[in-house]
Amino acid sequence: MPIVGFTSRTTAMLDLDDMGYHEVKYWSLKMLEKFSLEGFIILQSSPRHYHVVFDQEATYENCVSIIANVCLETKNQGLQKWFLLQCIKREFTLRISNKGNKPSPKIVFCFGRQNKEIAEYLQYRQMIKEKVKKQKQLKIDFD
């Protein structure tokens, strides 16, 4: 089965690998203040692996600037690799479905405003999760 993800050019998001929960929260709050991003959610994709989605809509250039700033300050290898891959595509993608043995990312923390980009992200996430669930059921019935 292919992996299903959410892609956007105008949402600032981060894929922080090999980082603790409190560290992720600290960097997210710091970026929120620095770029006035209004709000964010933290999703845990697997132990010590987190995704962050910010609420403020930004241009592609601004998103690149925000993520590059985080890369520079955190010096996170996983984030740097993910960022380079996203720059090649000129879009940002975060996983929604499960991947191998890893379950789909679950929300662990919310902060600030949630009604713009986060609301849209959650809407897509819910829709995809339902569809993937239905597809799995169909497959089981078919087998």
């Binding site: 089965m1 292919p2 959410f6 892609t7 891959l85 879009e91 996983r95 849209e120 597809q135």
Partner: protein, 110 residues
């Protein structure tokens, strides 16, 4: 051969190619990239063109159309490595974008 962007009254923004003497060769309309949100289906696949990592980017459409797309796309890996397509265009003619094959369990980066 030189290409430059021009604004044509009927077609809007176009890219015009002219040779070294300035004679017209070809033109194409510049279509703006889709700015909205998309759903990505990606992974490693095996088709008659070989084994490669590939991705579909679906945009537009409602939930039902998207579900159909996901079912069809899970059985038809893309012909090219990166395919960005409207949900309805894909459902109208999936073999234009995909080919017979299957997705492998090998993990890929997003």
């Amino acid at each position: 051969m030189r290409s430059r962007r021009e604004e044509w009254k009927r077609w809007g923004r176009v890219e015009v190619t002219r040779d070294d003497k300035g004679r017209f060769v070809s033109w194409r309309k510049i279509v703006a990239a889709y700015e909205g949100k998309k759903i990505a289906l990606y992974g490693c696949c095996k088709t008659r063109y070989g084994t490669y990592t590939a991705r579909y980017e679906f945009y537009g459409g409602n939930g039902k159309a998207l579900q159909k797309c996901m079912i069809v796309a899970s059985r038809l890996p893309p012909k090219q490595r990166y395919v960005t397509v409207n949900v309805y265009d894909f459902l109208r003619n999936p073999f234009k974008f995909g080919t017979k094959g299957y997705w492998l369990e090998k993990q890929t980066e997003s």
